[in-house]
Amino acid sequence: MGAMLTAASCVAIARAAEEAPSLDSESVKSGRAIYGQYCASCHGANAQGAPDWTRRDEHGELPAPPHNAEGHTWRHSDAMLYEMVVKGWRDPFNKTKRLTMPAFGDALSAEQIRAVITYLKTLWTPEQRGYQSEESRNQPFPHQTP
């Protein structure tokens, strides 16, 4: 028992991924530009995340995670990612009151949010994209604008 489950707990989807839907190239291009303008300062120019992102910083906050294959963004459905961008999100165990992830609902349009999430999908493995696509099947992007 003690020897079990010792490997790092990052990527663990073993089942063969279903073929993920192709991504709209225009959306990817637009999303990359939006990412550079709004997201890269925290999540890194290459979506590599902040240094030591798995440990709380001196303020008791979790640093910005990677959005690439090393992170966990791919574990969330389109609907969940969209909502997080619009409303932001606060880790309940943060030692400060501020949002861990700021809200961008006032800064970005629905189309821009969908585009930036589409861009992030280009950073994941086929298995991760397959998983995320399945998670999104019942939780797709909302049709409403934020």
Binding site: A3, M4, L5, T6, A12, R15, T54
Partner: protein
């Protein structure tokens, strides 16, 4: 006579060896039986208001708060052992039992009938099982040396989700505590304390500085941020989702399992089956006659 002497001596030695071997075997068998009879798990089925307890060989049900117990007939533990029991708070009468060699079995009628739910898992050596708090068909199984698997169809199919905490785990529970990116949280009792993760499996984190081997944990369904742990050092309570822990008064020296039952009653049990209940979140305890 002198020629028969060595033969007799050898025969005597052989007989003695056989007796020792059989004797040792009997001692080992007795120890194994004793080990198998030690209580290992508690669970509560809120739909039927039934308290459940298990040793390695059997599951027992009580509908009177642990005062009387009835052994539940299960068709599957023939070559397996029970290590975990979970009842669903989202589906009345749904119980999961799991263990090494047993895999996962499910009952949807409070334990009257059972269906094997191991197909799709990489093996039968299941260490822990946890029912989702609000989704009736979602269940998690921890497979030895493999990781944590999730089923969203009541165990008919499984998907590997995560390798699990770095130092392993002995119990896993799902909680609907607020603040998750997904639908809730998973808490694990591990050899180095309590660890938690959102049920999207984003990032395992230590739940506070409870640096003691944890054997079991539960949470108060009425106040999900209130978590209780049975550890090598005693019973502990957290009122902030596992960030800070306070040692509690323990009615037993070595609690092996604890669970919340009807109307916020907290139960704790030791390996010998001594059961205690508390109506005030563990401030005071009363023995349950059984």
């Amino acid at each position: 006579m002198t020629r028969l002497g060595p033969f007799t001596h050898a025969l005597g030695l052989a007989a003695l060896s056989i007796a020792i071997l059989f004797g040792a075997g009997a001692v080992r068998a007795a120890e194994t039986n004793q080990q198998d009879e030690r209580l290992i798990a508690l669970a509560y089925d809120p739909g039927t208001q039934t308290l459940l307890k298990a040793d390695a060989n059997a599951l027992y049900r009580s509908s009177d708060g642990g005062q009387s117990w009835h052994r539940t007939a299960m068709p599957y533990p023939e070559d397996g052992k029970i290590s975990a029991v979970a009842a669903s708070s989202a589906a009345r009468g749904v119980i999961y039992v799991a263990g090494p060699g047993l895999g996962v079995v499910r009952s949807d009628d409070g334990g009257k009938t059972w269906v094997e739910r191991t197909e799709g898992l990489p093996g039968r050596d299941v260490i822990a099982v946890a029912a989702h708090t609000t989704q009736p068909d979602t269940v998690y199984a921890v497979v030895k040396e493999q990781g944590i698997y999730r089923s969203q169809d009541a165990g008919k199919s499984w998907r590997m989700m995560d390798r699990g905490p770095r130092d392993g785990l002995v119990q896993l529970i799902h909680s609907d505590m607020a603040g998750s990116m997904q639908t809730g949280w998973l808490f694990a009792a591990t050899p180095s304390g309590i660890r938690r993760i959102m049920d999207c499996f984003c990032l395992w984190q230590d739940a506070g500085g409870l640096a003691s081997e944890a054997r079991s944990l539960t949470y108060d369904p009425r106040q999900p941020e209130h978590i209780y742990a049975a550890t090598e050092k005693g019973l502990f309570r957290s009122t902030d989702g596992g960030e800070n822990w306070t040692e509690m008064t323990s009615p037993v020296s070595k609690a092996v399992a604890l669970v919340f039952g009807h109307s916020g009653t907290l139960y704790v049990i030791n390996a010998d089956g001594r059961l205690f209940r508390s109506a005030d979140q563990g401030v005071t305890w009363a023995a349950v006659d059984a």
